[in-house]
Amino acid sequence: MVLKVYMTSFEIKTYGPMKYFRLRKIIEEELRLTGLTKGLVTIHVKGATPGLLIFDEEYVQVFDSFLKKLIPVIGYRHGNAYEHLRSSIMSTTHTLFFDSKGLRLPPSYEVFLVETRPVHNHKRVLHVIIRGI
């Protein structure tokens, strides 16, 4: 068996603050196009303020409330520090396993791009690196 590696990039238009954009279907379509049946996929979003969150869709608002409480909007020296801190904690990169059915996640789980900034029609670039057999 030969290991194959694919890298692809795409854009998502976002608005915010603290809005959650679903990526799972997009990533699983990229996986399907490769024809690979098992492996690893690394997802990365460019920039110092967005977040990537792998979480049960049912409880996203619970996470959202927790994060806002942990890192409030005000009280910093750097104007938008809350965006950076939320981004660093969620991380801008995650690696997941996949098989022929898609991502190895429970059905109710999503891969969210989190727009932390109060923006409108903002362009976010994502990289997806897929390797497997």
Binding site: V5, A48, H78, H84, S88, I89, H127
Partner: protein, 126 residues
């Protein structure tokens, strides 16, 4: 041909520091002629974190206050919050992470001395 390169870098730390290691990693990629793939950076030692954040003095002060506020009882919690590894894409020999995002090594161990940072590149190189 896909290859894997793994190396150990040493960071001098006073035991309480936030150090921008982006250029160190970029130089390492250049030295190894990495072209396309991804690089993983890991801080294996206790009390050390690798995270992605803008490296700006006011923001670092905010980060320091955040770490102090939430780590006052159990510092180990901070390693769980921020993580010990990051993975970044390498395209045409450079890290494609955006303008402001930097790779920052954070040491909250309060133990002065050299600290290990592990670097792994998976991909294509010259």
């Amino acid at each position: 041909m896909i290859d894997v390169l793994i190396d150990k870098l040493i960071i001098d730390s006073n035991g309480y520091a936030a150090i921008d290691i982006t250029d160190t990693i970029t130089d390492w990629l250049r030295k190894n002629k990495a072209k396309r793939g991804f690089v993983t950076i890991n801080a294996p030692e206790k009390g050390c974190i690798v995270t992605l954040i803008e490296y700006e003095s006011n923001l670092l002060s905010d980060l320091e206050e955040f770490l102090a506020r939430h780590g006052e009882q159990k510092k180990i919690v901070l390693e769980g919050l921020f993580g010990k590894s990051v993975v970044l894409p390498v395209i045409d020999g450079t890290i494609d992470a955006g303008v402001f995002k930097r790779i920052v090594f954070i040491d909250i161990s309060e133990e002065e001395g050299p600290k290990e940072v592990l670097v792994g590149f998976e991909g294509v190189h010259d």
